[in-house]
Symmetry: C3
Subunit: 304 residues, 3 copies
């Protein structure tokens, strides 16, 4: 879990993913020689801070978003949300501005809900703050901020080790309105003819989805993927013997949203471990579900 | 109205349009030989469950969505909406899961508004339920679930009988967030140079739009189509002598939304009969308005 | 400011931008011969009512929307909003229908908030009404309806006088759901390889943005542009010595929204003067901020 910890510790809120992109490009350069198949690596300004890895003759693409939720410093000592972080007075936030590194405390006005910070000085307008990472590991689970979606990124990187045919795409802005999957989807479809997607992301423990009972295959959230594709995924999962759970929600979204709304006929399905304490500094995922997630991805990328 | 009844009876909620697609492909194969012009039929995985028919040298495309509203079974005996169905305790719902066919009753919790079902067994998670079809016809009107938009589909099919130049596109997911018109619009524009659209769908009887007074030409809903195009349509309708009504709304949407937001310069206009009891099992449309709708489409496809 | 006044006086609500398009094409034809570089002028049905001007070897595109907010006449004497105009009983509205030109008064129902009009006759269904223009100028400021965004259009036109390399795009529908920037962005990216954008529009005076203290560079609104691009703009502005202010908001949007959500990897940043009395007939902008805006655009288009 050393890699996962490192991923969780890198600050990369939506719009400022570059530090994690840099880490990933370095990691890929170092580790790809040990992978079963050497991928083609697409990156650079035409992909902004995204990365596409192409293995063999791809039929399916995995999308894992690298950005996280956080806060932007506004005027006075006000904060504005990046994505939908949980807020509680006392959460520890970190960042950096022209005056140096920052460790401060989130404040939530009890009356108005207005967000602010406590620190020994004013922070520069526009500075991004993210949760301070307190990575915890037991025999049973991992707990940290940003398991959503550094655990998806981790799964995608581990998948790369044995992947023979497929695409792994690291996307941006998922937590805050999207904005990269549209062009990733276009490029992948036009250049490689791929239109099958798996959204490699973290979902919620709910009354119908339980921690420790396996990776989630989502039948729907706020959007409804094409039934015939989701059914194929269910059948592969069923035949594999790997534990999994089915999710049915009326709300929530993912990179699947941009695939659904893009100008290519993508089939997509959300497949990911469930977490508790969503969007807090204490996101918790069971190791059994991480294991199930990785194994499911390995099988799906072979069979789809 | 036998064809309309058959269309209304086929369950095809958003995301699971395949059964209606199959019916349409079969219908087209059977009936196209009797049509004035033989269309090119585009279908298959690159169009997911959509169909495009190309007649002659097209200048204008008709979009008719084939999906319907409905419900997805969640956990316990909960239901989640597909699109925006009206809900009342007692509505009859039908579906099918691994244990067989289902006829159950919708329940709406009076306190919380939570949706559920009453049935003699639990229904499999993720199963789709749709309104049970009770098709009624009088001398004056037809009444059924899903006239929105099986009546649009019916009009499009009847239009095909005499169409010389034009495109008829059957789209998916309109009732639930969209997701097919973006690629239909791209393909039609790039392959055929067509950028004029008519949205062949059903609208509402309101204080300004009355049942039996003719097909509606919508000047705007939540979006505003380009004025100059809508004016051309008004002038053609006016000159034709066919009864029509003008609609002006501040809310509501259609496949026009995806045309408006796509990356091609589509001009679009919603043209369709008004219905009462919208999104209930008892949608009602006057035959005079159906007649006006079909005749208006015939004229518009010639003149535009 | 004669040109600005003329721009403010032309009615061109979202969806009916054609009158302003016509004015601009005429203006460009007349004045381009006096500009430093002769641009290529792209217009016509494939761009609907938009215009693209291409100067030299472009690296950056300026987007200025030409549409305005307003009202559509519904049924009876009801009005529906175009975009988000401020509403107060007594605002003077103008328009034209088949019976002739219209000068009427906005009414807002105190109980329901319902919008209507007072006039000596009924107005034709679907007629657009816009604020009556009362253009005021002092030594310090200009005040009028529709400075948002006729001042952006004015700035873009003045920028054209000296622009050597770059694109100026006049867009439509910005105030009401968008719909043109997607195809403008696609065409500009595919045809000219340009993926850097400046959104030339007007923003708000707030607790952190003050009238008269310089053009605004927005670090974020409801969406978050890519950090590295915004930082480059800040550095160029800083080095230029031109007064500017930084904005950080959690809401609001612009043409940047469509750039962010399109299928090309656009970097974008909102750069524009702040105004008071937003979306009223009395929008007010300081001349110092107009001056700062134009100079900042001149520098940015050279340096980016």
């Amino acid at each position: 879990m050393h890699l996962l910890r490192t991923l969780c510790e890198i600050a990369a809120p939506s719009g400022h993913e570059a530090p994690l992109t840099e880490f990933l490009l370095h990691y890929i350069q170092q580790h790809a020689p040990g992978w079963r198949v050497q991928p083609q690596v697409l990156a650079g300004d035409d992909l902004q801070d995204c990365i596409i890895l192409v293995f063999g003759q791809p039929r399916t693409a995995v999308f894992a978003h690298i950005d996280s939720i956080g806060f932007t410093v506004r005027y006075g000592r006000q904060l504005v949300r990046i994505g939908g972080p949980d807020v509680q007075t006392g959460y520890r936030l970190v960042g950096r501005d022209a005056l140096g590194s920052i460790e401060c405390t989130l404040t939530v006005d009890e009356q108005t809900g207005a967000l602010g910070y406590e620190f020994n000085r004013d922070i520069e307008r526009g500075t991004e703050l993210t949760f301070q990472c307190d990575f915890r590991e037991t025999a049973e689970a991992v707990q940290s901020c940003y398991l959503d979606n550094r655990l998806g990124v981790w799964t995608a990187l581990r998948l790369c080790e044995t992947l023979e045919h497929g695409i792994v795409a690291f996307s941006c802005w998922e937590e805050h309105g999207g904005g990269s999957v549209k062009y990733l989807a276009k490029r992948i479809y036009e250049q490689y003819g791929v239109r099958q997607a798996l959204v490699c992301d973290i979902t919620w423990v709910t009354e119908g989805v339980h921690a420790g009972q396996g990776c989630v295959i989502s039948l729907r959230d706020s959007l409804i993927p094409r039934r015939s594709y989701v059914e194929r995924i269910r059948r592969i999962a069923e035949a594999s013997g790997i534990p999994y759970q089915l999710e049915v929600e009326g709300s929530g979204g993912s990179d699947g949203k941009e695939l659904q709304h893009g100008a290519q006929p993508w089939d997509w399905c959300f497949v990911g471990a469930p977490e508790d304490h969503v969007h807090t500094p204490d996101e918790l995922v069971y190791k059994a579900d991480i294991d199930s997630m990785l194994r499911l991805y390995q099988v799906l990328m072979q069979e789809l």
